[in-house]
C-alpha cells in the first residue's frame, strides 16, 4: 500500500546556484540517506520515485518548493521532516509534510519578492510596470515569439523590507501552459534602463492554484 506525501522545503542562500537536475540528484541521495521508507521505481535502474511540482530556475531562492514522493509504510510527518533535514545540505530545509491536495497541473501563479533594486531605479521600475504593455521576445517551444509581459503579471506591489529597503512583490503566471520567469521580467527592465543583467535578488515565496488559493 503506497502513501503519497508532499514535502515542502526552502532552497536558500547559495543553493540558488544549483540546477534543477542537481536538486533532483540531491534529494534522491538525501532521501536514501534518511532511511525513510520511500518507494523505489522498479525496472532497470531502481531509484526513489520523486516528482517536483514546479520547476525552479537557476538563480532563484525559494521558501515554498514542494516535491511529491511515496511511502511504503506510515510514518509521522514530524519524523519525515527531521530525518530529511538531518540528511540534506544545510541550505535546503524541509518545513512541512502533508498529503497532497491539489495536482501540480492546478498551479497557475507564483509570488516572488524581488530585492536589491537600487533606490535610484525604483521609480523607473514603477513606471515600467505601470506601462500598458511590456513587449519583449520570449522563448517558446516553437522559437522566439513576441509577447506582452503584462499578460503574465497577475498583481504587483511595492513594499518595505525590515531593512527599510523598497522591494517588488509580484505574482506572475506559473505553470505548464502559461509561465513567466521573473528573470525575463527583470532583465527586460534591466536592458531598457542599461542596468546589469541578473542584478536583483529573487525569492519565490508562494505558489497558487486558481483563485489565488495557496497550493497544498
Amino acid at each position: 500500500m503506497l502513501i503519497n506525501v508532499r514535502i515542502f522545503f526552502k532552497k536558500l542562500n547559495d543553493l540558488k546556484y544549483i540546477s534543477h537536475l542537481d536538486l533532483n540528484r540531491c534529494f534522491l541521495r538525501s532521501m536514501k540517506k534518511s532511511k525513510l521508507p520511500f518507494w523505489y521505481t522498479k525496472g532497470f535502474n531502481p531509484h526513489i520515485y520523486i516528482t517536483f511540482n514546479t520547476p525552479l530556475s537557476l538563480g532563484i531562492n525559494s521558501t515554498c518548493e514542494s516535491v511529491d514522493a511515496r511511502l511504503t509504510e506510515t510514518i509521522s510527518f514530524d519524523n519525515i521532516i527531521n530525518a530529511l533535514n538531518d540528511s540534506l545540505p544545510k541550505d535546503i530545509r524541509v518545513y512541512s509534510v502533508c498529503f497532497p491536495s491539489n495536482k501540480a497541473s492546478d498551479i497557475c501563479n507564483a509570488r516572488y519578492e524581488i530585492k536589491n533594486i537600487k533606490v535610484e531605479n525604483i521609480n523607473n521600475l514603477k513606471d515600467f510596470l505601470n506601462s500598458e504593455n511590456i513587449i519583449t521576445e520570449k522563448k517558446t517551444k516553437k522559437g522566439l515569439k513576441e509577447v506582452d509581459l503584462k499578460d503574465f503579471i497577475t498583481e504587483y506591489n511595492f513594499k518595505m523590507s525590515e531593512d527599510n529597503e523598497e522591494y517588488l512583490d509580484v505574482v506572475l503566471a506559473c505553470g505548464g501552459t502559461k509561465n513567466l520567469n521573473p528573470f525575463l521580467l527583470m532583465n527586460t527592465f534591466n536592458e531598457k534602463y542599461g542596468l546589469p543583467l541578473n542584478g536583483q535578488d529573487i525569492t519565490k515565496t508562494a505558489v497558487y492554484i486558481d483563485g489565488m488559493v495557496e497550493f497544498i
Binding site: L21, L23, R25, R29, K32, K33
Partner: protein, 614 residues
C-alpha cells in the same frame, strides 16, 4: 563583501554551483577556534577534482583534528576566471570563501603533468607570489604531493616543499610541526628547516642542480645539511590506515559520482610502462572486513547508490570474493550497485561477474594495452588472446553488450603489425560475440577501443626510452583509424600534442620552471583540456628560454646518465629497472610478485620479500 561580488557574477558563468560549496558533508568550522588552516587545491576543475579519492581522504583526515580546518579549492573555468579578475575576487576556499593567501598552508595534489600551469594560476589568483624566492613571512607555505612528485623538478621554483609518497601519516606530522613552531613564534625559514627534517619531505631550494655541456644533469648537491637522498613515505600498517566515514557529496554531476573505497596499494603485475604500479609499491591489501565496513559507512553517510572498489588492480585482491559476498548482504537490499573498475582479463571469472551484476550493470573495461602477444610480452602484460576472448564471452553471456578496451600506441619495440593487432583483437572479440546464438546474446553490441599514446615515465623500465615523435604518432594514428573494421568497433585516440608535452614534463628538470612561467604568462592554463591547449605558445616559450623540449621527450637515455630525480628514493632500484628494460627489448616476460620476487627494491620497506605466496 565577497558574497555580494559573487552574487553579481555567478549567474554569468557556466555551472555556478561549483563555486559556492554548501554540499552535504562539507566541513564548516568557526575560524576563531582554529589553529591551522589548510587550503587543499586540486589544480583542475571541480568536476575532475571532486572525483579524486586521495583528496577526499586527506581533507577528511585533516578536518578530524578539531582545531585544524581544511578547505577545498579548484581551478575556476575560464569564464569564472575572467569575472574574478575583472571584479577583483581572489581565489578562495569553498567552505569559508576566504582568500587562500589568508591560510597557513596551500597544498597541491599533483596528479597530471598538464596541470602545472594551473598551479601558477591558482597562486596568482590567490595573491600568493608564484616563485618561492618571492614569498614573505606572512605568505602561506606552498607544498605538493601526489604521483607527479616522483619527479617534481619542473615545479621546483614554485613550491616550498614536496611530500614524497603516501600522505596519511606525514601530512599530520607536517601540520603538527608547523603549529608547534608557530606558537613558538619561529620564522618562516626556521619552520621550513624543521619541516625538512621530517622523513619524506623534499625542500627543492635546499639543492643546487648543475648541468653538463650536453644539458644532462651533472650534479644535485644538498646545501644547509639537507638529506642527500629523500626517501618516500609509505603506510606500513595499510589495513588500519585512516579512511573517511563521509564524503562531500557534490550537487553537480562529476566524473565519478559515487562512493569509493581503496582496496589495495601498489601492484604485483610489473607492466613496464606503468609508473603507478612501481611508485606505490610495496603491494599491500586491506582486509575484507575493514573494506566492507568502510563501504557501508560511506553509503550510509552519503546516500550514494554506487560504491566502487578502487585500486590499481582490484581483481588481485586476495579476499575479493569474500568482500563481494559480505557486501551483498547489505547492498542488494539498499539498492546500492558495486562497481569494479580495473579488472584483469586473466582472472575474470564466472563467479566474479555473477557477483558484480546483482543490482545494476556498470560497463566492463579491460586493458590488453597491446594488440599482439609479442608486444604484450615486451611490456610484460601477461595476458593471452584466449583469456581476452574467454572474458569477453563471459561478459556477453551475462548480458553485457558494451565492452571497452584500453590500448596504447608508441610502446617501445612496437611495429605496424602490433598496431594492426588492435583492430584484429577487436574483430576477434566481435566474432566471439556473433558466435553466440542470436537469442542468447545481448542486443546492440559495441566495442570501444580507447588508444592512449605512450609516455615514458620515471621509475619505470621505459624511462630510458624516447617517446614517438609527433609525426610518428600522427602517421600511426592515421594508419590505425584507416584500417578496415566492422562498424560496431569504435576507436578513440588520445591527443598527440598534449601527450608530447606530458612526456617533456615527466622527465623534465628545473630548467623547465622558466618555460612553465613564460607559457603561463602567455595565457596557457587548463592545458589538459583540448580546447585550451596552446601548443604554439608552449613552443614559443621553449624557444625564448633557449630550451629544446625534444631533449626531454625524444632522447634515448643511457643507463649511466644522472637523472633529474636521482636524489629521490622510491625504492625501485636502478639495477632492477635496467634488468627489466633489457628484458623488454627481447620481449621477455617476468612473473607477478606473488609468484616470484625480482628484487625491485620495494622489499626493503617491509622487510624481506614483501608479498606472500597465494
Amino acid at each position: 563583501m565577497l558574497q555580494k561580488k559573487l552574487d553579481k557574477i555567478l549567474l554569468n558563468v557556466q555551472k555556478p554551483s561549483r563555486y559556492v560549496g554548501g554540499e552535504l558533508n562539507s566541513i564548516v568550522k568557526d575560524k576563531n577556534y582554529i589553529d591551522f588552516r589548510l587550503a587543499f587545491v586540486f589544480p583542475d576543475t571541480y568536476e575532475i577534482g571532486m572525483s579524486h579519492l586521495g583528496m577526499k581522504i586527506l581533507y577528511s583526515q585533516a578536518n578530524e583534528v578539531e582545531n585544524y580546518w581544511c578547505e577545498r579549492v579548484f581551478t575556476p573555468w575560464t569564464d569564472m576566471r575572467e569575472e574574478m579578475i575583472k571584479n577583483d575576487i581572489s581565489l578562495y576556499g569553498l567552505e569559508s570563501k576566504d582568500p587562500i593567501n589568508e591560510f597557513d598552508m596551500v597544498a597541491f595534489t599533483m596528479q597530471y603533468e598538464m596541470c602545472y600551469t594551473n598551479v601558477l594560476d591558482a597562486l596568482e589568483l590567490g595573491r600568493i607570489p608564484i616563485f618561492t624566492k618571492d614569498r614573505k613571512e606572512n605568505d602561506p607555505f606552498v607544498f605538493g604531493g601526489g604521483p607527479c612528485i616522483c619527479n617534481p623538478e619542473p615545479l621546483a621554483d614554485f613550491f616550498d616543499f614536496f611530500i614524497l609518497g603516501e600522505g596519511e601519516e606525514v601530512n599530520l606530522e607536517v601540520y603538527d610541526c608547523y603549529v608547534k613552531l608557530r606558537k613558538q613564534n619561529k620564522t618562516r625559514s626556521e619552520i621550513l628547516k624543521e619541516i625538512s627534517k621530517i622523513d619524506g619531505i623534499y625542500v627543492p631550494s635546499y639543492y643546487n642542480v648543475s648541468y653538463n655541456d650536453d644539458c644532462t644533469i651533472k650534479d644535485i648537491v644538498p646545501i644547509n645539511d639537507a638529506k642527500e637522498i629523500i626517501n618516500k613515505r609509505i603506510i606500513e600498517n595499510y589495513s588500519d590506515v585512516y579512511f573517511p566515514k563521509e564524503f562531500v557529496v557534490p550537487f553537480m554531476d562529476i566524473v565519478h559520482n559515487r562512493a569509493q573505497v581503496e582496496v589495495l596499494r601498489g601492484c604485483i603485475r610489473a607492466c613496464r610502462f606503468c609508473q603507478a604500479g612501481y611508485i606505490y609499491r610495496p603491494f599491500r591489501e586491506k582486509t575484507a572486513k575493514v573494506l566492507n565496513e568502510q563501504a557501508f559507512n560511506l553509503c550510509e553517510s552519503t546516500g550514494y547508490d554506487e560504491i566502487s572498489l578502487t585500486s590499481l588492480s582490484t581483481s588481485d585482491f586476495k579476499e575479493l570474493n569474500e568482500l563481494l559476498d559480505d557486501m551483498d548482504e547489505w547492498t542488494i537490499n539498499s539498492n546500492v550497485n558495486i562497481s569494479l573498475p580495473s579488472l584483469r582479463i586473466d582472472n575474470f571469472s564466472e563467479e566474479l561477474i555473477e557477483k558484480v551484476t546483482k543490482v545494476r550493470k556498470s560497463g566492463l573495461t579491460f586493458a590488453p594495452e597491446a594488440g599482439t602477444q609479442r608486444l604484450r610480452d615486451a611490456i610484460n602484460k601477461n595476458i593471452y588472446e584466449e583469456e581476452i576472448l574467454k572474458s569477453c564471452k563471459l561478459a556477453f553471456d551475462n548480458g553485457y553488450s558494451s565492452v571497452k578496451l584500453y590500448f596504447m600506441m608508441g610502446l617501445p619495440t612496437e611495429t605496424y603489425e602490433d598496431i594492426k593487432g588492435i583492430v584484429d583483437t577487436a574483430e576477434k572479440i566481435l566474432e566471439t560475440y556473433f558466435s553466440i546464438e542470436k537469442e542468447k546474446r545481448p542486443k546492440g553490441i559495441n566495442i570501444t577501443c580507447s588508444v592512449a599514446l605512450f609516455i615514458p615515465k620515471p621509475f619505470t623500465p621505459f624511462q630510458y626510452e624516447p617517446q614517438n615523435t609527433l609525426e610518428e604518432f600522427n602517421k600511426k594514428k592515421d594508419y590505425l583509424l584507416n584500417l578496415k573494421r566492422n562498424k560496431k568497433i569504435s576507436i578513440k585516440c588520445h591527443d598527440v600534442k598534449t601527450s608530447f608535452l606530458e612526456a617533456v614534463f615527466a622527465k623534465g628538470d628545473r630548467r623547465l620552471c622558466e618555460v612553465i612561467y613564460k607559457a603561463y604568462k602567455k595565457g596557457c592554463v587548463l592545458d589538459g583540456w583540448n580546447e585550451h591547449f596552446k601548443l604554439d605558445k608552449w613552443l614559443e616559450s621553449f624557444k625564448e628560454c633557449n630550451i629544446d623540449p625534444e631533449f626531454y621527450a625524444y632522447r634515448t637515455i643511457s643507463y649511466d646518465e644522472k637523472l633529474p630525480w636521482s636524489h629521490l628514493n622510491y625504492y625501485i632500484t636502478k639495477d632492477y629497472l635496467v634488468r627489466e628494460h633489457k628484458k623488454a627489448l627481447s620481449s621477455t616476460t617476468v612473473k607477478n610478485c606473488r609468484d616470484k620476487c625480482y628484487y625491485c627494491g620495494a622489499n626493503e620497506l617491509l622487510g624481506g620479500v614483501c608479498v606472500d605466496k597465494r
